[in-house]
């Protein structure tokens, strides 16, 4: 009967129910969008690191992120790494911001990723046109379909210029987006050096792969002892550093999380207000329940069930809208991500928000005087 009573109380005043649901709905959409943007940003920031197959990263000292590797490393570090016990491979990678000159005029920034896929370190993924092997073709560059307009090109075969060198699109990926808004463009390690005018053996990072059974910690300690002036980071450490740089040092992450908290607060206040007024309207009924001998816990359950039902319905509607927003954002530079984990977290957050909202109503009903049933 608790659910029946809660449901009927809720649907008794349709206008108030609609206001409640709109409040929850906006709150959920806002929180879903903010957290979805956060997840989308996170995915973009760590995408390269997650797709590289190595347990350790060697970076120049103070490298801030994947895109900002700092000063270039030399063959000396690579040789020292390769001679360290437990190291199976030390794969060089050159990453830096570079100027992309559009074929139709104008220029934009791009993140040039110089990599040799055959080395097994990092290769473009989600290739939808052409193949990864096409990276070895003369002047080859691989770009993502999301950035064709930004790069001023239409597809495979188009040419452009990076710094002073000519490049030709030979393959397209899908979904490799960049948080910095500067598109990732892939070419071979040597061509990237040549485009940038960098020394023939220079690189930004070493991706270190370990021999089977080698201890990651021991190898890391050994590399730290041998490679002075560099940093040896695990994949997780490098990922966290990149996230810290782009999400927290820039304030972008704080803004996204702050927006989500604001959404929660707005939702909580709206639901609390409507639950409180609903409880006030039904006070004589709650007093009757109390006079009939119901425990205060029973009445609390009715209010909490009302809150839960509001939350459940509001969540359903809010998620439906949030999923539409997610779908619409798919082709934007900053796509919103909805994962099953986020959906479940949002449901729990919504129910928590509604439970917190019920506190004022519960406090009101706790003070109820059952003797009011005798007032005429």
């Amino acid at each position: 009967m608790i659910v029946t009573l809660a449901f009927r109380n809720l649907f008794h005043d349709r206008i108030r129910l609609i206001v409640t649901l709109i409040g929850i709905l906006f709150s959920i959409v806002l929180v879903a969008v903010q957290l979805g943007l956060y997840l989308g940003a996170r995915k973009m920031i760590i995408g390269m690191i997650e797709n590289a197959s190595g347990e350790l990263w060697v970076t120049s000292y103070g490298a801030k992120s994947f895109e900002e590797g700092g000063i270039l490393l030399t063959p000396r570090e690579r040789h020292a790494a390769l001679s360290t016990p437990g190291v199976k491979a030390a794969i060089p990678l050159l990453v830096t911001f570079a100027e992309w000159r559009k074929p139709g005029g104008g220029s934009t920034n791009a993140v040039l990723v110089g990599t040799n896929p055959d080395d097994g370190g990092l290769a473009p993924w989600n290739v939808v046109k052409g193949s990864t092997d096409d990276i070895t073709a003369p002047d080859s560059i691989i770009v993502d379909t999301s950035y064709l307009d930004d790069l001023g090109i239409k597809g495979i075969g188009d040419t452009a210029q990076i710094e002073t060198g000519r490049v030709r699109v030979t393959a397209l990926t899908h979904g490799i987006r960049s948080f910095t808004m500067a598109p990732y463009v892939f070419t071979t390690l040597n061509r990237s050096r040549s485009l940038l005018g960098a020394p023939a053996d220079a690189y930004s990072f070493l991706i270190v792969r370990l021999e089977d059974g080698a201890s990651r910690e021991r190898v890391r300690d050994a590399l730290r002892a041998r490679l002075v002036g560099t940093e040896i980071l695990t994949r997780d450490e490098f990922r966290d550093r990149s996230l810290d740089q782009w999400l927290f040092s820039t304030g972008a992450g704080v803004a996204l999380i702050g927006g989500a908290i604001l959404g929660l607060l707005v939702g909580t206040v709206i639901v609390a207000q409507t639950l409180y007024s609903s409880t006030k309207d039904h006070l004589s009924e709650f007093a009757t329940l109390r006079a009939l001998g119901s425990s205060s816990g029973y009445i609390h359950k009715v209010i909490l069930t009302q809150a839960g039902l509001s939350g459940g319905i509001g969540y359903g509607l809010g998620m439906a809208i949030a999923l539409i927003v997610v779908a619409l954002s798919e082709r934007t530079p900053l796509p919103i991500i909805m994962t099953p984990g986020l959906a479940v977290s949002l449901l729990l957050l919504t129910l928590f928000m509604c439970a917190v909202s019920a506190i004022s109503a519960i406090v009101k009903v706790t003070k109820i005087d059952p003797a009011m049933v005798f007032s005429k």
Binding site: M1, I2, T4, L5, R8, N9, F11, H12, S284, E285, T288, L289, R290, A291, L292, G293, S294, S295, S296, Y298, P370, A371, V373, F374, K376
Partner: protein, 250 residues
């Protein structure tokens, strides 16, 4: 008739308000309600009827005095303890019916059983039986707004009955009803007292209700001033000398 009281109040006093505004609503009321009896509690406005009903129903705690229901003392019980006592032993019928407008007749009665922790299947069977007993077997799915005042009060009686209480306390049960419906509800309460061996106490102003009473108590200025058994062949009216009490409480 079983003379063991099902509800007993001794020396009940109740003070309301504080300081200069303090009111002595009850000034040492003692009474016993017996199973099988319909007792009327009558008195002018402000005499303390409703306060006494609230205390007998374990809704209010007295300032002094003791209450026991079905052998269980209410002394020292907090709000939850009193609620538990009400749940197990007391049924209420209110002047304004106090039905839940969003629930139909069956659900209104089921709710009273649900708060007692009865299983859903059991609540349906018992609620249907109670509604049939009050003559509303054909109105189970009707909402209060679609029922007459008399029918609503019958639902309220069924709700009180369904919990199988020892005592039914009714507050002006006929006040909002026309003569026909008022008689019908009083007949029902009288029948319940007899057939189910409940103690029924009704607070009323309505002289039409006298015909159904086994006992009529009158209250004035917070004191029981008479306790009459009209159906008794001896027609003994127990006139209570309250002058001493009044003087003592003044």
């Amino acid at each position: 008739m079983n003379r063991t009281p099902i509800l007993e109040a001794r020396g009940i006093t109740k003070e309301l308000g504080e300081g200069a505004g303090k009111v002595h609503a009850l000034r040492g009321v003692s009474l016993k309600l017996h199973p099988g009896e319909l007792t009327l509690l009558m008195g002018p406005s402000g005499s303390g009827k409703t306060t006494l009903l609230s205390i007998l129903g374990c809704i209010l705690s007295p300032t002094a005095g003791t209450i026991s229901v079905a052998g269980e003392s209410a002394d020292g019980l907090g709000p939850e303890g009193l609620a538990d006592l009400r749940r197990r032993h007391i049924g209420f019928v209110f002047q304004s019916y106090n039905l839940f407008p969003t629930l139909n007749a069956l659900e209104n009665v089921r709710l009273a059983l649900d708060v007692r922790g009865a299983r859903p299947v059991e609540t349906i069977a018992r609620a249907e039986a109670a509604l049939r007993e009050v003559g509303l077997g054909h109105r189970l799915r009707n909402f209060p707004r679609n029922m007459s005042g008399g029918e609503q009060q019958r639902v309220a009686v069924a709700r009180a009955l369904a919990g199988k209480p020892s005592v039914i306390l009714a507050d002006e049960p006929t006040a909002a009803l026309d003569s026909e419906n008022g008689n019908s509800v009083m007949q029902l309460l009288s029948q319940i007292a007899k057939d189910r061996h409940h103690a029924v106490l009704a607070v009323t102003h309505d002289p039409r209700t006298h015909a159904y009473a086994d006992r009529i108590m009158r209250i004035e200025d917070g004191l029981i001033i008479s306790d009459d058994r009209p159906a008794d062949t001896s027609r003994n009216v127990t006139k209570i000398d309250v002058s001493k009490k009044r003087k003592a409480n003044a």
